[in-house]
């Protein structure tokens, strides 16, 4: 798949933002007044900034409101609902915490759950696609949720929670990569099944339909060199998990905490780039490509 910057920015930032919102809704950290304002402002900037970035790849962003209509079948529509509800409920809760010195725990909990639901629905947009075997796995939502929780705990300054959550996310990441590398072969879709000609011999793409490129090739066929991808995996893993955990186990220091957040953010962004760039769509088979 084409790794469009808008979707990478969107999933990375809003995953982190809704992760932070989850902890704030639970009253972690238990802050009020201006400190709370700053925490909520960061969460909203990340979540809303990500959502706005995602509209950049639309052909007709001015019609975006129509996307709320098909929640019965469409995960993209459900994501829209969850995001708006999470932002509204958490907003009300934030007003209480910041201005009224009140912590409406029930409302906060609801906001937390809606925040997680938003991340889950985002992941299901990708997971539901049988055409992209690397995404069509249970580990995809597990990865989105574990990343969001780890990043959220890190941003919320919950060191004792952040370390185990980062370790869990790291484990999910490794499993995702391992299973993902087998997914296309395991799905069993080949040029033989795509053309129905497999039982008469070995099928080879002889001539593409056009001499030039097209939307399908630009959108769905993106080749990342194997060596290149392995290097990026190491970089992503080091930045997203190893470095933040090391920084957290050192004696607490505001600079180290900030560095841990930035490093995690950069690592997750690289992981998301790979998530898109390495995903192979079955339509590539028709073009003799992966």
């Amino acid at each position: 798949m084409h790794p469009a910057p808008s979707v990478i920015v969107f999933t990375t930032l809003s995953g982190l933002g809704f992760g932070l919102m989850f902890f704030l809704g639970l009253g972690l950290p238990d802050v009020s007044g201006w400190v709370a304002f700053v925490f909520f402002a960061v969460a909203y900037a990340l979540a809303v900034g990500g959502l706005l970035a995602s509209t950049f790849h639309l052909g007709h962003p001015e019609r975006a409101l129509k996307a709320f209509t098909q929640w019965k079948t469409s995960w993209l529509s459900r994501e829209g609902w969850c995001a708006v509800l999470a932002l509204m409920v958490t907003g009300l809760y934030a007003i209480g915490v910041i201005f009224l010195g009140q912590r409406w725990a029930g409302l906060g909990l609801l906001g937390s759950l809606l925040s997680l639901a938003t991340v889950f629905t985002t992941s299901m947009i990708y997971t539901q696609l049988k055409t992209i075997p690397r995404w069509n796995m249970k580990l995809t939502p597990a990865m989105f949720l574990s990343f969001s929780l780890a990043g959220g705990a890190l941003l919320a300054g919950q060191t004792t929670l952040a370390i185990p959550l980062l370790l869990i996310a790291a484990l999910v990441q490794i499993l995702y990569w391992r299973q993902g590398d087998q997914a296309f072969a395991n799905a069993g879709t080949t040029l033989a099944t795509a053309t129905g000609l497999g039982d008469r011999g070995t099928v080879r793409a002889f001539e593409p339909p056009h001499t030039g490129t097209n939307y399908l090739l630009r959108e769905f066929v993106h080749v990342v060199g194997r060596k290149h991808a392995e290097k990026l995996r190491v970089i992503s893993f080091g930045l997203a998990f190893v470095l933040p955990v090391l920084l957290l186990v050192l004696p607490f220091n505001h600079l180290f905490a900030a560095l841990a957040v930035l490093s995690h953010l950069a690592g997750v962004a690289v992981s998301r780039w790979l998530f898109f760039a390495q995903a192979e769509h079955v339509v590539g088979l028709y073009y003799g490509k992966r």
Binding site: T73, R204, L216
Partner: protein, 249 residues
């Protein structure tokens, strides 16, 4: 609505004969010609006369080479447009309801004025049958020429899809695949029509007829061959001596 109908009254679709398709791309051109001037936004081209042309097409013809375990390889031309799947994943993913499957004839269409151009339906289609138009920013796909097949303003013989009407080899057939007695259904039954990527569970309405087996070449290519056995033999006697002597020179 993006909820798929339980069943459709008819299943209109195409049957594509891989045995007779000659790979001339006439259907590609007639499809683009008809659909760029009729239903919905035109099918735009970018850099059409430049070094790197590309454009939106609803129907494309691939060519594949099939190498059997023994014997010569075979070239098969392979037209591909929307298969109007019964279990169309492209419809259910659409957040706006722009994509839908019609109850009356099973045609899968996009209502362009509702489409936000998110591209998710193209991601969900295994067959590459949907293309986001770069100029209009909306999703384009085969309409089964819905504006021809019911069009009373056209002479009766033209009330079929443009690609079917134009195919010089008669490789594209149009009809109701839900009716077992229709000509297309009988053709499918007779020739062993097949689904593409059946493992993905999309249940395509369009069917592909596999190429017929080619004639096999027996050992004897030509019945006259035995009568034309070579007459030149090793020269003997004087000629043999002369041959060797000359070779030594």
């Amino acid at each position: 609505m993006t909820q798929l109908p339980q069943s459709t009254e008819r299943k209109m679709g195409l049957v594509i004969d891989l045995d007779t398709c000659v790979g001339c791309h006439a259907c590609v051109i007639s499809c683009k010609g008809w659909n760029t001037e009729n239903y919905g936004a035109p099918l735009s081209d970018q850099d059409a006369y430049g070094a790197n042309p590309s454009g939106t097409f609803l129907n494309r013809v691939h060519s594949y080479e099939v190498q059997p375990a023994e014997g010569a390889a075979q070239l098969i031309h392979f037209p591909k447009s929307c298969l109007h799947c019964e279990d169309a994943p492209c419809v259910t993913v659409c957040p706006t309801g722009a994509s839908y499957k019609r109850v009356e004839d099973g045609i899968v269409l996009v209502n362009e004025s509702d489409c936000i151009g998110c591209g998710l339906c193209a991601w969900a289609c295994p067959y590459g049958a949907r293309e986001l138009d770069a100029a209009a920013g909306v999703m384009k796909k085969c309409t089964l020429c819905v504006d021809r097949i019911y069009n009373d303003n056209l002479p009766e013989e033209d009330r079929v899809p443009a690609c079917v009407r134009t195919c010089p080899a008669g490789a594209r057939h149009f009809g109701d695949l839900g009716d077992p007695d229709s000509a297309v259904s009988q053709l499918v039954a007779e020739r062993g029509g097949m689904d593409l990527m059946p493992e993905l569970g999309t249940k395509p309405v369009n069917k592909y007829l596999p190429p017929r087996p080619k004639d096999t070449i027996e050992d004897q290519i030509d019945i006259l061959a035995p009568l034309l056995a070579p007459v030149a033999e090793e020269p003997k006697g004087f000629l043999g001596w002369l041959d060797k002597a000359l070779e030594k020179l």
